[in-house]
């Protein structure tokens, strides 16, 4: 937290003998990403504020502002001084509290401390934000260019980021890791979902019909779970929002027909997962997002 102490000085104001001025202090800290002086690229419609800070009336002419939340923006300090039956008001101007980006080693230390030890997650932070919670040179929160209000190191987008995640990089990374774990659960469950799907049953049925036409016995087709590698890759795709409703993998087909590796007993067969080519991913989002994350440099 910044340490800011305000001092009120009365110049040319006569203080009657025997009277002590009383000071009433208050401060606000607000951020509006669309309006000067805190305007930042893609920050339109994004705002935050620190709860108003006040001090009880007292005789102290100095006040250390009691920040309770990690926030930034425009700091405005107000003081009312009452002395000798009259009041005097003062307001500060032009004090901005901006962010500072952490070093990669600090991010690494923190990710390790919360169990976020996967290299792909760290690479994802780099690809998402260039390892910047705040956008230079003004160092206001770094919002995403897609207008969705994704912010910070992990570009937290959905659910909408909290003010803590906007201003506190550790909370941002923590939310990013929570999202990663959530998407990992989805990815882990996805193969079972596909196995139960009408589409997969239809593919298996069509496959066995074709075998039957060739006077071959039907096979029981299994679809494996993701490998650890596939699980991470599908998780990353989920983190990016499953653009166009697509996972990283789909059931492999050839000419519209299920691709099956037949076991030695010719009664069991195994279907496969294949990566969805970028060309089949549509225009929404980054079709090669996972490849981009994987090619990013770890830290």
């Amino acid at each position: 937290m910044p340490l800011i102490t305000a001092t009120a000085e009365m110049q040319g104001i006569a203080i009657p003998p025997g009277s002590a001025p009383t000071y009433e202090w208050s401060a606000t800290l607000t951020f509006n990403g669309g309006i000067a002086p805190t305007k930042t690229f893609f920050g339109g419609g994004r705002s935050s504020e620190h709860p108003i800070m006040r001090a009880q009336a007292g005789h102290a002419k100095t006040w250390r502002i009691p920040f309770s939340h990690v926030r930034g923006g425009t700091l405005t300090i107000q003081v009312t001084v009452r002395v000798g039956g009259s009041s005097h008001h003062g307001t500060s101007e032009s004090l901005l509290i901006a962010g500072t980006n952490p070093l990669p080693s600090a991010i690494r230390t923190f990710t390790d401390s919360i169990g976020a030890t996967k290299a792909r997650f760290r690479k994802q932070l780099r690809q998402e934000s260039s390892l910047q919670q705040f956008r230079p040179p003004d160092l206001w929160p770094k919002y995403s260019s897609d207008g969705l209000g994704g912010v910070g190191l992990a570009q937290i987008t959905r659910p909408a980021p909290t003010a803590d995640q906007v201003w506190n990089w550790k909370e941002n990374v923590r939310a990013g890791w929570a999202l990663y774990k959530e998407k990992e659960r989805y990815a882990r469950a996805y193969p079972a979902t596909v196995r139960r799907s009408e589409e997969f049953r239809r593919l298996v049925g069509a496959y066995n019909q074709a075998r039957s036409a060739q006077r071959l016995p039907p096979v029981q087709v299994t679809l494996p779970d993701f490998t650890d590698e596939q699980l991470e890759q599908d998780t990353i795709r989920g983190f990016n929002g499953y653009a166009n409703g697509l996972h990283e993998f789909r059931v492999r087909t050839e000419a519209g027909r299920l691709f099956v590796t037949i076991g030695p007993d010719e009664r069991q067969g195994t279907a496969e997962w294949e990566r969805i080519p970028a060309a089949d991913r549509g225009r929404a989002g980054d079709p090669a997002y996972v490849e981009h994350v994987e090619s990013a440099q770890d830290f």
Partner: protein, 391 residues
């Protein structure tokens, strides 16, 4: 733990003076902590500029350069091609007459061996800071040199905890983008700051501006301009000829992204008409400075929660008196389109950040004076640097 202190002396309505002792513990507020840190105003930063030696003065073409035949070109002709230079090193060549992208290449292919502009580690990978950003052209004579001056680095990522990267000023001959010269600029913090900004100086050389120093008109001077009522936190974003586009907050009424035109000759400030909402903050200056264009945006609710700020397709063109002189509704730029530039031919050029462009004719020509700005970074690929040339 180091400590940094800054003081801000505050004027009061009465004779009560507030003195703020701002103490930020650098260690606690930066490298490893959660907290933002107090920032002094830009005007408090001490300017120290670095002169770049041994560069060809702008406007003087060496023998190897192809010089335009002045008699064959009117000033508008110098602006036939717009090169959009992206931070990832990609350059798109746009023919403004045909209104289409006619070529695209990566500067790594044209910046020597080893390449002075880092190649992408894989197509689409995002660098840690801008790899290439052209120096803003200031006038037609700079455009006529058929040169592009690009601040560039050969380093794709920062290394470890080192926040600095080395940058060079590269001179390219157009239209082939043939590397003519490379001058080392030194190391620059790109974690909490941006790559260096280079401008031509009055002696025909180049200087690196220190962080926070403007080569355009300085905001502080605006205080004395006429018609600055209700203006607070003015910030110059672009300038052309003798006009600066200024964004500011209004001290009264609804909080809107206000903008105005500052005439640097008459020291008069003109407010642009209010935007319809607090989202439409994208205002760009037209060449010559007599017009400005605002893109109207809205918030679309998302099924998954939150909202998306997106363009409506509406554009409002303001004249020198600040009034709306024309409104355009272009479905083609509704959605996520970003302004590249307003061109002297009277086109507003937009990119979707994926190499596609849209062109909106604004119904009038502007003056052949390029628009300069202070932006040095564009990692999202939504506001590329612009270089004009007749070829």
């Amino acid at each position: 733990m180091d400590a940094a202190a800054a003081k801000s002396y505050v004027s009061l309505i009465t004779r009560l003076v507030l003195t703020l002792a701002v103490t930020a513990s650098v260690g606690a507020c930066s490298r490893a902590s959660d907290a933002p840190e107090p920032q002094t105003m830009p005007s408090a930063q001490a300017p120290t500029s670095m002169v770049i030696p041994n560069t060809a003065p702008p406007g003087i073409a060496p023998e190897s350069a192809e010089s335009p035949t002045d008699s064959a070109l009117d000033s508008q002709s110098y602006y036939r091609y717009l090169y959009a230079v992206y931070c990832n090193g990609v350059v798109d060549r746009i023919d403004l007459e045909q209104r289409k992208k006619v070529a695209s290449f990566h500067l790594a292919e044209r910046s020597g061996t080893p390449a002075a502009v880092a190649a992408e580690s894989s197509p689409g990978a995002r660098p840690d800071s801008c790899l290439a950003r052209p120096v803003s052209q200031q006038n037609t004579s700079e455009v006529a040199t058929r040169r592009a001056y690009v601040v560039a680095t050969d380093q794709f990522y920062r290394v470890g905890d080192e926040s600095k990267k080395r940058y060079q000023l590269l001179t390219f001959l157009l239209p082939k983008w043939q590397l003519e010269k490379a001058v080392d600029l030194g190391l620059f913090d790109v974690l909490n700051s941006t790559p260096p900004r280079v401008v031509s100086d009055s002696r025909g050389g180049w200087v690196v501006l220190p962080q926070g120093q403007s080569n355009g008109p300085v905001e502080a001077n605006l205080k004395n301009y006429l018609s600055m009522d209700n203006v607070t936190s003015p910030r110059i974003t672009e300038w052309s000829a003798s006009t600066a586009l200024v964004e500011f907050a209004n001290t009264r009424g609804q909080q809107l992204p206000q903008a105005g035109l500052a005439d640097l000759t008459t020291h008069r400030f003109t407010h642009l008409d209010d935007p319809p909402n607090d989202l439409s903050a994208d205002v760009r200056l037209a060449p010559g400075g007599h017009y400005a264009l605002r893109r109207i945006e809205r918030m679309e609710k998302q099924n998954t929660g939150g909202g998306q700020v997106t363009g409506t397709g509406e554009l409002r063109l303001y004249g020198a008196d600040g009034k709306t002189v024309a409104t355009f509704n272009e479905k083609g730029i509704a959605g996520l389109w970003h302004t590249v530039a307003l061109t002297p031919q009277g086109l507003a050029v937009y990119t979707n950040g994926s190499g596609d462009y849209q062109f909106v004719p604004l119904g009038r020509k502007f003056e052949p004076e390029p628009v300069a700005n202070e932006w040095t970074d564009d990692l999202e690929g939504t506001r590329p640097g612009v270089v004009y040339s007749d070829r």
